[in-house]
Subunit: 355 residues, 2 copies
């Protein structure tokens, strides 16, 4: 039942992104590798810092494979972090246990001017080595997913120096210093294209762009800081790697998902938990949708989870769709709930409905 071999005959994750309707839909989960898995916690206890995991190809490979071994998802996302890009550009990044990421906040134009693409490829070589090693170890039918943080989200961390509810320091800096901020966004756009391209060249069959803090912005800044850079990134990747679909994730964009998808032109769009699915289905045009089970529902499990999964599958029937969560798997999640979720999504609907 949890044998990844059953995956061999399934359509690949990339099929719906390339225009093919799949029933049942493929499934993977954001943060499917992580703290809810005892084998991850065991490895984590023996390893060094979080960033060392990301920069050690053998460890990143092992962690990426852990959930695929257990559950045989249709996609495996390389174990890494969006902040490896700021780290590679010269912002010093560290992860404080129980607190989150810390960066030396960019304070002025000079600090932004000192960031450089020069070291990016070399600094991120361990990530690309991990991608190659994961690709070699994965079942052929499991798609390898590369990813990057979107420019606004990376800039928000770099200016704020840490996570935040509202990223007020970053946002006021951006409004007060539009030229410096524009240079930062341009540099990050270039870096994200390079980072995603290198992951594709190392074996990623799909890439996802995470704009985790798109939701804190009003419309004009959302368009200038999220939509436009994402459009440039998607266009550059279509040009260089037309066979590799890009999934975008402007988390919290609300009604602005519609203009974003139209303006950016991605192969797929990931919907956060709060997006009403029927609205997305009817409004977002002919793009592959991905999402959006509430991670809290996966924690609760049981009949609550089954009801929600049934609702999502019914709403998305006949639509190009990838089953996923609306946000990452929570550390509190029971691994058995993940197994039940995947089995339920893969059970033909007529059978699931008791026919």
């Amino acid at each position: 039942m949890r044998n990844p071999q059953m995956n061999q005959s399934r359509p690949s994750l990339v099929a719906p992104l390339h225009g093919q309707l799949c029933d049942p839909p493929p499934i993977w989960l954001m943060r499917q590798a992580g703290r809810y898995l005892p084998e991850y916690r065991a490895l984590r206890a023996r390893a060094g810092s979080f960033l060392e995991l990301c920069y050690t190809p053998d460890l990143a490979t092992e962690i990426t494979l852990q959930p695929v071994r257990r559950y045989g998802m249709d996609g495996a996302i390389v174990f890494s972090d969006i902040l490896v890009v700021p780290d590679a550009l010269g912002s010093e990044v560290s992860f404080v246990e129980g607190v989150g990421p810390k960066l030396t906040p960019l304070g002025d134009d000079a600090a932004v001017g000192q960031l450089s693409m020069a070291r990016l490829a070399e600094h991120l070589t361990p990530v690309y080595d991990a991608v190659r090693s994961i690709r070699a170890a994965l079942p052929v039918s499991t798609a390898l997913i590369g990813f990057a943080g979107a420019p606004w989200t990376l800039a928000a961390y770099m200016l704020e120096g840490e996570g935040s509810k509202e990223f007020l320091r970053a946002r006021t800096f951006a409004l007060r210093h539009p030229d410096t901020f524009g240079r930062l966004l341009d540099l990050l756009t270039e870096a994200v294209v390079a980072h995603l391209s290198a992951q594709i060249e190392a074996g990623a069959a799909v890439v996802q762009l995470f704009d985790s803090w798109a939701g804190v912005l009003p419309e004009p800044q959302f368009e200038a800081w999220c939509l436009r850079p994402a459009g440039r990134i998607v266009a550059a990747l279509k040009d260089a790697h037309p066979e590799v679909p890009v999934i975008v994730f402007p988390r919290g964009a609300g009604a602005k998902y519609a203009g974003y998808v139209l303006g950016v032109g991605p192969a797929g769009v990931s919907l956060d938990t709060s997006v009403p699915l029927a609205w997305a289905r009817d409004t977002l045009g002919d793009v592959c949708l991905q999402g959006n089970l509430d991670p809290a529902t996966l924690v609760v499990g049981g009949s609550t989870m089954r009801r929600e999964v049934g609702r999502i599958l019914a709403t998305m029937a006949g639509r190009r769709f990838i089953f996923n969560l609306g946000h990452g798997v929570l550390p509190e999640t029971d691994p058995d709930n993940v197994a039940e979720l995947i089995e339920m999504v893969r059970t033909p609907r007529a059978e699931a409905d008791g026919a």
Copy 2:
């Protein structure tokens, strides 16, 4: 220029809520009384705890009047807090300086069973005394706004015991114990109706319902926990006080604002910062819109603020509208920026456009 007397001849805040188009639109600001004002900080330094301010009619009155004296907004919102309702029902609430609210988290059905409406009216008498005293002191043309937290938002604090990014504890409790949670929502719905009615009877001409944490919920829970209780509250108030308009504020509802407004049937809806205004204007039907200048823009001020204010006014021209922020005034705000904002909103558009 900052003389509240100029307000005397202006249409009242309630006009657009009652169907009248006003040009320029009336203006008030969420958290217009608060830490950005030196006179508030001076009073705060001499006073006791935050809740003592809320429960001392003279202090609550003085704080409510401070921004009206300076700026002559069209509305004054009673200085209070959404958590006075849980406090009155028996959840012990305190505010820890620099941390936020703390409540004894509701752990089980018995704890919910011990909450009671019995003490509500008596416990909240100082709030209603403050409303009466504010009403007596305000210029006749300044509308007094009462408010309450919506049931889901209050339940979230009561179950979580504190503020949270995701309210995971509250949400998993609600999913695991639907009967207990349903009783809690019902009790809070009843309490909110009583609290808003009492504020109306004491002199509030408008009331606003704050569902500050509506944005963390997926669609089915949003409908059951936010939309339905708000619909019951609005219906009960329409019945008891048909002349008093209700403004609803399901913060972060995204595309779900549309179904919410349709289902709840309020006189007005407050839009958070992230809502695209043209979408709201074209989608939300014939309801009075309120919002949604980014509070960060008010911190930055200058040409950035003027551009954004101009955009909002242009988008809302010809629409029933109340100018407000998309969230509360930030403590970092320069009081002079508030003065400039209000002057700009009140300047006739032709003149503002240089005609």
